[in-house]
Structures are given as structure tokens and as C-alpha cells.
């Protein structure tokens, strides 16, 4: 750096001298036609050019040379530096003033241009980092991005330590061992930076003897962490410009980190609110929907126990059947509630394996045989439907809930149609009925938990828990798919969902001929 600066100014001095020589040569050539005043003007042009192009030194050299040449060659007595007429001193003075003024002007313009270029560079660096920090995703990505950008300013080892990594048990900073924190000077500089909340270490007024630079990530809310930078070449000085850029990037990293922390805190608060809502909903569901079947079970069982002789065989059977039915209803409800908690708290474990969709559907159809007997159910699965990666127990639950819904809300005798087809790397499944459909505009609302179709209350004998579709969508989402409801042309509702065909590849099942 220093050597380049040296050669630049050497070139400038040479250029200034050459400019004066050219002006002198011109004057000598045109001497016969020029008055002394004109010569002075011509030489002044050389000075002006030098002053405009070069720094103060070369400009002064050009001025001095021009005055010397003018005096020596063009001011009588010629070929001496003696000056007889005092008015020539005025000419010398004018040349000097012009040169100085111009040099100062150009120097200022140059400084401004350089400052603008530096600003632009810094802004570009800040902008690039800011943009990438916003896209960085997880915290680790954010830290990595910031480290990369800082390393662009000061090539070397960059590491960001988070406040929780730094704070020791006794509240005093605990530095990692080895690496950048190896030397005592580095640890002292790091501690200074941490305690005083100011950058310290290499290139800084404080702790400059350390071979690494430490800058705290400071926000109004407190320290978020610290940047540690160990330059590849610690003997190099940190230019003012680079230092400003570096510290601006450090500030930006602090802002990015704070933004992330706040976002996470907001996310946590939101999920706490949701968990609270879920608890409330569960509680009301438990207290209401579970009590109803329990009351009939208790009633039926007690009358069977208390007056067995008075009840006729038929009544007895009816009471027993009601106990069985109501307990089954409770089982379904509890199962649904548990499933929903798993779905909504994100604790649903999905164990996917490749299998024919037919199998999960088959289990659901068989299990619902009694409840579906009033409806003609058709299942159209093309024979070349690929295997799908699914958790069979969960997808079976989806089919059960959808088919139960279809049976519950449609008139006996109306058909239920199930179909599937491959589309865009997924399998799209449809369960469609010819019932009343859902009110227009409520296609999304049906997926909300405890949704009940207009006019039905959850206490109605046939009504569901209002959880079935919520659970279904949760399960399908956990498979990476989507679920939605469409109104069917000609009446009825159609629930569709996708099952993405992604996952570890399968080896082909070997085919074999019939013997």
C-alpha cells in the first residue's frame, strides 16, 4: 500500500515536470511572436494543468519550475535568475497564487470523490449484508452470513460469539480456549470490549497490541454477543475507512441478530397464546362432550344394576346397547382430541413408508363397514397408481374421518366416491359426496377446530366433534401435502388432498411370471 502510494506521487512529480518542460518548449518555439506577458500566460497553463491533475506537492514543483524557467529564459537579463524590473515579481506571485488556489480546489474535489466512492463501497457492503441477513433463515445461517461479510472487509478468521456463550456462571465473560483467544493480550482486549461495550484489540485505540479485534454486538436492549476477528496479517494496519466499514457491519449484524431474537420471541408468544386457546377448547370439549355419553352410560348401568327383575329382556338389551354405543362414541372423541393435540402441538410423529394407497383405504373401509352400509361407496384407484410414502396409520385415520363425515352429513342412499390420480409429483386423492355441501364461503372454515355445520350442535346425536377435518389437514400437512374442500358440481362436497411422492428412492420390486 505504502509503496503504491510512493510510486503514484513519483509519477505525479514526473508528470508535473514534464508539463512544465512542454510549456517551456512551446514558449521557446513561439518566442519570436510572443510578448513576455504571453509567455507567462502559457507557462501558467502548465501550472494550471499540473494543479488540476496532481496533488499539492507536484503542483508546487510545477509552479516553482515555471517561475524559474520564466525568470531564467524569458525575463531580462536573460540566462540569469536576476530580476531587474520589479513588476515581474508580481507575475511570479500571480503564478504562485493561481497554482495554490487550484491545487486546493482540486484536492477538495478529489477528496470528495474519494469519500463518495468509499461511502458507496460501504453502503454496498452494508446493503449486501443486510439483504443476505434477512434471507439467512436459521440463526446459524445468520451468523455464518455475517461472518462471511465481515471477512470480506478484513480477510482472516471471523467468529461471532453469542452472549449466552460468553456469559460465564459468575456473570464474568468466559472466553473460549485456544484459537483467537489463545494469547493473554487477546483475552484482555476481548474483556475490555465486553465490559466497556466498545471495540478493542487489533487496529483499535484500546488493546491495539492484540492480534485480534473484538467488537461487541450492542443494541439498546443490551449486548447480544461479540465479533472476534483475527486478520491473516496482524502487522497490517487497519485503515480508517476499513475500520468504519467494519464497525458499521458489526452494528448491522447486531441489528440482524436482534431482529431474529425478537421474531423468535414473538413466535414463542404466539404459540403460547395458541396453546392456551387449545387448552381452553379442550377443557370445554372435555367438560361438555364427554359428560353427555358418560351420563347415559351411568344411567343405563345403574338401572340395570338396581332393578334387574323389573326390566324386560328387550329393555335390558336396549340399555346395554346404549352403554356400548356411548362408550364407543367416547372412545372416538377421546381419540380425536388426542390426535388433535398431537397435530396442533406439532408432536405428530410421521413414520412414512412406500405403499399402495389401496391398503390404507381398505383398512378404513373395513373399519367403517357398519357406518357406511347406507351409502354406495365406490373406490376408483387406477391400477398403475404409484406407491406413496405415507404413515399408514395416519392416512387411514384421514380416510376414516373423511368417510365418517360423508356418511354423517349426507342422506342415506347417496353415493360416496373415492378416487386418486398422480399429478405433478404427487398423488391427488378425492373423497366426494352428494350431500348438502358446505355453505358457500365456508370451504376454509370447515377445517377450523370445533367447526360445526350450521344448525347442528355438538350435542346432537349424530354430530361429530368438529375436529375430524382439522386433524385430517394436520396429518396431510405433516406429510407435506395440502387439503382443501371444493363444492361439487351437481351438489355435494369434495375434499381433496395431495400426498407428495418424495422420499428416499425405492429399488424396483422384481416382477415374476405366473407358473
Amino acid at each position: 500500500m505504502r509503496s503504491t502510494a510512493g510510486s503514484t506521487s513519483l509519477r505525479e512529480y514526473a508528470g508535473a515536470t514534464a508539463g512544465v518542460l512542454v510549456a517551456t518548449a512551446l514558449c521557446l518555439l513561439l518566442r519570436s511572436r510572443l510578448a513576455t506577458v504571453d509567455v507567462a500566460m502559457l507557462l501558467l497553463v502548465g501550472v494550471v494543468v499540473a494543479a488540476a491533475r496532481y496533488r499539492l506537492g507536484p503542483a508546487l514543483l510545477a509552479t516553482a519550475l515555471s517561475i524559474a524557467v520564466f525568470d531564467f529564459l524569458f525575463v531580462p537579463p536573460y540566462n540569469t535568475f536576476n530580476v531587474v524590473e520589479p513588476r515581474y515579481f508580481l507575475t511570479f506571485g500571480v503564478m504562485l497564487v493561481v497554482a495554490l488556489t487550484l491545487t486546493r480546489l482540486t484536492a477538495r474535489i478529489r477528496e470528495q470523490a474519494e469519500a463518495a466512492a468509499e461511502r458507496e463501497q460501504r453502503t454496498a457492503a452494508l446493503y449486501a449484508m443486510d439483504r443476505e441477513l434477512a434471507d439467512a433463515g436459521a440463526l446459524s445461517g445468520l451468523l455464518k452470513t455475517a461472518e462471511q461479510h465481515l471477512a470480506l472487509v478484513v480477510p482472516g478468521e471471523v467468529r461471532i460469539l453469542l452472549a449466552e456463550e460468553i456469559r460465564g456462571r459468575d456473570g464474568r465473560p468466559a472466553w473460549p480456549t485456544g484459537g483467537m483467544f489463545e494469547s493473554a493480550a487477546a483475552r484482555v482486549a476481548a474483556s475490555w470490549a465486553w465490559e466497556l461495550e466498545e471495540p478493542a484489540g487489533w487496529g483499535m485505540p484500546r488493546g491495539g497490541e492484540a492480534d485480534a479485534l473484538f467488537a461487541p454486538l450492542k443494541r439498546p436492549g443490551g449486548l447480544l454477543g461479540m465479533v472476534a476477528i483475527r486478520p491473516q496479517d496482524p502487522d497490517r494496519t487497519l485503515s480508517e475507512n476499513a475500520r468504519d466499514t467494519l464497525l458499521a457491519l458489526v452494528d448491522l449484524a447486531a441489528v440482524g441478530l436482534e431482529r431474529r431474537t425478537l421474531a423468535e420471541r414473538g413466535e414463542r408468544a404466539r404459540s403460547e397464546v395458541e396453546a392456551e386457546q387449545l387448552r381452553t377448547a379442550l377443557l370445554s370439549s372435555l367438560s361438555h362432550d364427554l359428560r353427555t355419553p358418560l351420563a347415559s352410560i351411568e344411567g343405563a348401568a345403574s338401572s340395570l344394576l338396581e332393578s334387574p327383575s323389573k326390566l324386560g329382556g328387550e329393555n335390558e338389551r336396549e340399555l346395554l346397547e346404549s352403554i356400548l354405543e356411548e362408550s364407543r362414541r367416547m372412545t372416538r372423541l377421546v381419540t380425536n382430541l388426542l390426535d388433535m393435540v398431537r397435530v396442533e402441538t406439532g408432536t405428530l410423529a410421521v413414520h412414512k413408508s412406500w405403499q399402495p394407497l389401496e391398503e390404507a383405504l381398505g383398512v378404513a373401509l373395513l373399519r367403517l363397514e357398519d357406518r357406511l352400509h347406507a351409502h354406495p361407496v365406490s373406490a376408483r384407484l387406477p391400477s398403475d397408481l404409484p406407491l406413496v410414502p405415507i404413515d399408514e396409520l395416519l392416512v387411514e385415520q384421514v380416510f376414516i374421518n373423511l368417510l365418517e363425515n360423508a356418511a354423517r352429513y349426507t342422506d342415506p342412499g347417496t353415493p360416496i366416491e373415492i378416487s386418486a390420480r398422480p399429478e405433478n409429483g404427487s398423488v391427488v386423492v378425492e373423497v366426494a359426496d352428494r350431500g348438502p355441501g358446505v355453505p358457500p364461503g365456508e370451504e376454509e372454515a370447515v377445517f377450523e377446530r370445533f367447526y360445526q355445520a350450521n344448525g347442528t350442535a355438538s350435542t346432537d346425536a349424530g354430530a361429530g366433534s368438529g375436529l375430524g377435518l382439522t386433524i385430517c389437514r394436520g396429518i396431510i400437512r405433516a406429510h407435506g401435502g395440502k387439503m382443501w374442500l371444493e363444492q361439487r358440481q351437481g351438489g355435494g362436497a369434495s375434499v381433496r388432498f395431495t400426498l407428495p411422492l418424495s422420499g428416499p428412492p425405492l429399488d424396483e420390486v422384481p416382477a415374476e411370471p405366473v407358473t
Partner: protein
Amino acid sequence: MAAPTPLALVIEDEPHMRRFLRATLRGNDFQVVEAGSAREGLAQAAGRNPEIILLDLGLPDKDGREVTRELRRTTKAPIIILSARGQEHEKVALLDMGADDYLTKPFGAAELLARIRVALRHSAIPPEALEEPLLLAGEVSVDAVRRQVFRGKEEIHLTPTEYKLLLTLVRHAGRVLTHRQLLQEVWGANFVEQTHYLRVYMAQLRHKLERDPTRPRLLLTEPGIGYRLRVA
């Protein structure tokens, strides 16, 4: 067959569940021994020599796998696991370790007795039963001597693997077989992880043997566990 009143050992820590099992079993001509913990159950199994064991999966004092392993050391009596929904991995592990079948709570008396009946037949159909053509559910019959399979009167042509798979299920008719057990038996030990082989062949078999493959009558799926051939 077993003695006129076979002895059932119920290892279950939940008293209400024990009461239901005791009442149902006694009402169906079983003698019942009860154990409220794994430790007690293991002692009873060794001392009383029961003909059938009902083992709850979720005893407080011992892991189900350990209990199964120790039971298998002292008795050959069939073990039926009583489990809650969502314990599929555990169930599969126990079945692979030598338990015979399972029931998922809540279950009814009919289901319980059917499982016990199949388990008491000592799992496999005796080889001599296969010397005659055997009628299965859904009008399917198998002639193991001539290696022929019929649906009604029509002969169904199976590939060698399909046939082997069907016959394995027939030999254990009524009993659940895990994916692993079937893969091991039909494809061999190197293929026990290739569950999709089994699923694909099972689907083929269903398309050939079932009237409606989406509503199988014969080749039942036990979700997350394996398959079961329904007994006629």
C-alpha cells in the same frame, strides 16, 4: 386340545381392565390367574404353567420386551399383548420376539375370545391339515399338494412368490404376522427391511383373490404391524 378349563394368566396393572378380563374369561370357561405387575406375572407363569398369557404392554415395573423375553424362557404358552393405540413399534418388537398376537384397547369380548381361540390352536395349522384342499374365507381354497388356488371353481394362477406368501399366511391362519416375519419367511433374511416388496405382492394377491381389493375379506391388513389371514 387343552384341558376342559384352560388356565389363563392375566398380567395387567389396571384393576378395572383385570376385572373385565376376569369376568369375560370366567364366563367362557377359563380359569383365571391374575398378576398386577411384571414380577408377579413372571412368577405365576413359571409356577402355574398357564395355557395362555394376556400381557399388558405398559406395566410399571418392567419393559414389555424384557417381560416377553423372560416369559419365553419359562413357557411356550401363547402370549397375547394388550396395548393402547399408537404403540405399534412396541407391538411389532414384541411380536417379532415371540409374542403370538395382540389386541388394541378398547376391545370387545368377541374379539378377545377369537384371538385366544386362534392362539390356543398353537399358532400354526398342522401340516397334515394341508394334505387336503383347504377352504379359506371369501370362497378361496388352497390345494397345497397340487399347488393350486381357487376362487369358487375358478383356478387362480399365482406367481411363485405370491403362492409362497399366501401359503405362509395360511399356515398361520387367524394369527397376525409382522412385515418382518413375512419378509423373512417368503423372501429371506436379507429382505426383512424391504417392506414395499411385501406390500406390492400383497396388493397383487388381493387383486387376484379378493372380490373387491379395497375391501379385503381374506387378506387383512393390520396397520403398522403386518397382515392376518382371516379364518373362515
